[in-house]
């Protein structure tokens, strides 16, 4: 039975690391997001393997359900500059590789190899191993972790309002709700002006009578 668990763990960890490598190296950013979802799933499976079932469910709900959908929306809103033709890594990406490998080699590997962790002695067969359950987590959130729990809720509210304020700043400055066609026309005009500012010699071809209708 132990060998089965070990094989499951090895397969899961191999897939987690593979998905992580694909996330950071694949060219298409949508594919990177899908690999990120795969790595979230395998980490959730590892939580299940470590008998943290509530955390596994939370991982699937929040990471796979919420954060990845948010990321996919952000990619689609900024889509046509993130295509495959664009270079995805910095020119000196090998410095980053060096830093990451050095951190792994200097910090993690010696710690793991040399240090002997004082793990819990195996419980006697008549005595069941006490693992903190979801009920205990809920009780702890309502008792000794009540203040951090409330602070976390305030933090989420602040993040929610902050995200709305940051992302909708431009529209609130105009104080007028545009139709979709007007929005597209405004975006094209502004994109043309930005591109012309970047390359002043480009011909001014975007003024085709699609003027925005607000002052």
């Amino acid at each position: 039975m132990n060998i089965v668990i070990m094989v499951i763990f090895l397969v899961l960890s191999a897939f987690t690391l593979l998905a992580g490598v694909m996330v950071v190296t694949v060219k298409n950013i949508i594919h990177a997001a899908l690999w990120l979802i795969a790595s979230f799933f395998t980490v959730a499976a590892m939580y299940l393997l470590m008998e943290a079932e509530f955390l596994a469910i939370v991982q699937v709900l929040i990471y796979v359900g919420a954060i990845s959908i948010l990321i996919l929306f952000a990619i689609m809103l900024t889509r046509h500059v993130t295509g495959e033709g664009v270079r995805q890594l910095y020119q000196r990406w090998w410095i980053a590789l060096l830093v990451a490998a050095a951190l792994f080699g200097l910090l993690i590997a010696p710690t793991v190899v040399n240090y002997s962790w004082n793990t819990v002695p195996p419980t006697a067969p008549d005595q069941a191993a006490t693992i903190s359950s979801s009920v205990q987590i809920g009780t702890a959130f309502m008792r000794e972790y009540l203040l951090p729990f409330e602070i976390a809720s305030v933090l989420l509210l602040v993040a929610l309002i902050g995200a709305i304020v940051i992302a909708y700043e431009e529209r609130s400055a105009r104080r007028q709700v545009l139709t979709l066609a007007e929005e597209v026309a405004l975006r094209q005009q502004r994109g043309a002006s930005l591109l012309n500012a970047a390359t002043p010699t480009a011909p001014d071809a975007q003024h085709t009578g699609s003027a925005p209708s607000q002052p």
Partner: protein, 108 residues
């Protein structure tokens, strides 16, 4: 009841989590796309959570602190992702790019 504690040593889990952290570090340092940088940060947070859960399961399985801390990290990660993506969208609206090396107004 077989469990992972007898089957897999703790250091293997720590190695996997450390590898995932370093992969995320490499991603967030080397990607040009800011969304890709956020991917790296999410990978690193996942690795930290994996570490926390491993320490909780192997060292102190009768205390709830390990799982509670991991839950708080997930909460903060959700807030960070929301604000970060909103900032990316705002940058894209004003500069029509999401590449981190092209947003260089502060460079002087």
């Amino acid at each position: 009841m077989p469990s992972m504690v007898e089957a897999v040593p703790l250091s293997w889990v720590l190695l996997v989590a450390g590898g995932l952290f370093c992969i995320g570090l490499f991603g967030s340092l080397s990607r040009r796309n800011t969304v890709g940088i956020l991917f790296g940060v999410e990978l690193m947070l996942n690795a930290v959570n994996l570490n926390l859960v491993a320490f909780w399961r192997y060292l102190e399985p009768n205390l709830v602190a390990g799982q509670v801390f991991a839950l708080f990290i997930i909460t903060v990660a959700a807030a960070e992702a929301a604000v970060g993506l909103a900032m990316i969208i705002a940058i894209y609206r004003s500069r029509l790019t999401v590449n981190a090396d092209e947003v260089d107004t502060l460079k002087g």
